[in-house]
């Protein structure tokens, strides 16, 4: 029996596409699915004599994202050429940042299943350009579309602080939430706006001795699921490899693997020996950027309350569950809508229920966001109050919400119009209850008996009242009256 224990070690490199209108160094439009090679100019092609000029907004977006990731912002930053040859890279180098990135030394708090959060350190964030796209046709050639060349990418590199596949996925999702909140990226996975490259290995203790498995990097993952699954797969693969062949870090270099989504496995990628000899050197065609206090303050002023802070505030201030707070803060507009509805006087719990159980479902069915349903936060607050006061019951609130969306009318009017107002007036209800009691002597006797049948009989009487009032009596008030009368 061997004594085996291991810890998973994962660091992430993430590329986030910034949502500027134009490319990083030229005015070519960034447009998803445009006609091939229709958004290309001599700068994109790297023609001799062209001069790239940095997009101010792309730089500011990068700084804003870096601030949201608690990074230090460099006072002086420059760009470098990373040389490699590939058909999708017309300049034969990628303009990136090597030794002086625009930001460094940050961290991101990721929410864990337990409701706690974990801090993952960030080594650096830098701004670089994307390459074009190769399309592999079935024939003996490949097609190249250069529309994507020069697209601004924020590259974020974390320390290897993640220890489970779930943590890696949580970081990916939290980063998506953050960059969307601060408005620097649409972070649409389907459009390849976020790409992940986990670096994975294991620290193994076997029979009291410590080992490390060789690091593998999984390239270009563009879904949360693929990120999580590839890490899970690598953990098992490296463990098996170690147990079967005793492969450790010292025995080989870092390898690169790709994710095969059909087979749900990572596959070793063939790499040329000199692939990592990028021969970085300073980009002579771009000028360095110096950050100053005024400019930084201006960028800082565009910062908003970040998603995890919001989520934690919703839990602490409004006493929502962590789950509900997570649902409401998934996107910034929904979270702000909720906040506004509460400010407009709705109770937090009721507004939360209305939004998570009705509003978000309707929005989802219609394929729009909650704020685009055409319902104001005041109207939601009013509806919440109507439910809390007992003017309408929970199921009626669904109907009213639906009509608010289709008609744009106020909830109070709709409740009247749809005949959904509950009777809560005790004297009126008391008369009805008294009548029901006198008509059902046997049930009253059973209800008063304290026997097993009592509860059932009381339920029957309540049902009679509801029937009599065509379901419009407030069941809470009726129960109260019923209980009082039966005890008297």
């Amino acid at each position: 029996m061997t004594d085996l224990d291991y810890q998973v070690i994962v660091g992430l490199e993430i590329h986030v596409q910034l949502c500027t209108k134009t490319k990083l160094f030229c005015g070519c439009a960034l447009e998803f699915a445009a006609e091939p090679n229709s958004r290309v100019c001599p700068v994109c092609l790297g023609m001799p004599g062209v001069l790239p000029v940095m997009n101010r907004l792309a730089y500011e977006y990068s700084v804003l994202a870096a601030l949201a990731l608690n990074c230090q912002i460099a006072e002086f930053t420059k760009w470098d050429r990373k040389s490699y040859y590939y058909p999708d890279l017309p300049k034969n180098f990628q303009t990136s940042q090597y030794d002086l990135p625009l930001s460094y030394d940050g961290f991101i708090e990721i929410p864990l299943e337990t409701g706690q959060s974990k801090r993952i350190r960030i080594i650096r964030c830098h701004l670089e350009e994307d390459a074009g796209k190769n399309l592999h046709t079935s024939g003996s050639h490949s097609q190249v579309d250069l529309n994507r060349t020069g697209t601004p990418l924020l590259e974020i590199v974390t320390e290897p602080d993640m220890n489970t596949a779930a943590e890696v996925k949580a970081l990916a999702a939290e980063l998506q939430r953050i960059v969307r909140y601060v408005g620097v990226s649409e972070a649409d996975m389907q459009k390849g706006h976020m790409r992940f490259e986990p670096n994975i290995n294991l620290a193994i203790t076997k029979d009291g001795k410590a080992y490390r498995t060789p690091i593998t990097e999984v390239k270009n993952l563009n879904s949360f699921r693929a990120v999580e699954r590839s890490v899970e797969y690598e953990i098992q693969r490296q463990l098996d490899e170690f147990l079967e062949h005793g492969t450790t870090l010292e025995m080989g270099n870092k390898t690169t693997r790709g994710w095969d989504d059909d087979r749900q496995m990572t596959v070793l990628q063939r790499e040329k020996e000199e692939a990592h000899d990028y021969r970085y050197f300073p980009e002579p065609d771009l000028l360095p950027v110096k950050m100053n206090e005024t400019w930084l303050a201006d960028i800082r002023s565009r910062m908003c309350e970040l998603p995890l802070q919001k989520q934690q505030r919703f839990v602490q201030t409004y006493e929502l569950s962590d789950y509900d707070a997570g649902v409401l803060t998934a996107d910034r507009a929904t979270a702000e809508f909720f906040d506004e509805a509460v400010k407009a006087g709705g109770s937090a719990k009721r507004v939360c229920n209305l939004l998570t159980q009705i509003g978000l479902k309707m929005a989802n069915d219609k394929g729009v966001s909650l704020v685009d349903l055409g319902v104001s936060c005041e109207a939601v607050a009013n509806l919440a109050n109507m439910v809390d006061r007992g003017d309408v019951n929970a199921s009626a609130s669904t109907t009213i919400f639906e009509h608010m969306v289709t008609t744009g009318k106020a909830p109070a009017g709709l409740a009247e119009e749809l005949n959904l107002v509950q009777k809560s007036d005790s004297s009126e209800l008391e008369a009805i209850v008294k009548k029901i009691l006198s008509d059902n002597a046997q049930a009253v006797e059973e209800a008063k008996s304290g026997s097993k049948k009592a509860k059932k009989a009381q339920g029957f009487l309540l049902g009679q009242v509801m029937q009599q009032t065509q379901g419009q009596a407030n069941p809470r008030v009726v129960s109260q009256i019923l209980g009082d009368l039966l005890r008297s």
Binding site: S38, K78, P87, L135, H136, P284
Partner: protein
């Protein structure tokens, strides 16, 4: 200070740069590069203690442009210099392993 450049290094750099050089060229460039590096070596004699490394030869910074769309050239102009095209795409020899991506 610096080691002398030899033919092995020149061949490696040529390979990295996808240059197909003849033996005569290798010899010629090795000599030229050696001369250049010897000259650079001279600069190492300067005392640069406490001098900030220079990131750019121009003493200016923050040359930025606004995020405003300008016209692209259009696929036909873009593909005009391409050895081969396939519709509006560049046509290149089949790429086997995709290690591309930033």
């Amino acid at each position: 200070m610096s080691e002398k450049i030899d033919e092995v290094q020149v061949r490696k750099v040529a390979k990295l740069s996808r240059l197909d050089l003849t033996d005569t060229e290798i010899k010629e460039f090795t000599g030229q590069l050696e001369a250049i590096l010897e000259y650079v070596d001279k600069m190492n004699q300067l005392d640069t203690e406490g001098v900030e490394p220079m990131a750019h030869c121009l003493p200016i910074s923050n040359c930025l442009r606004e995020d405003t769309v300008t016209d692209s050239l259009g696929a036909d102009a873009i593909l005009a210099n391409a050895p081969q095209r396939d519709g509006d795409f560049f046509k290149v020899p089949r790429i086997l392993d995709d290690n591309s991506g930033a």
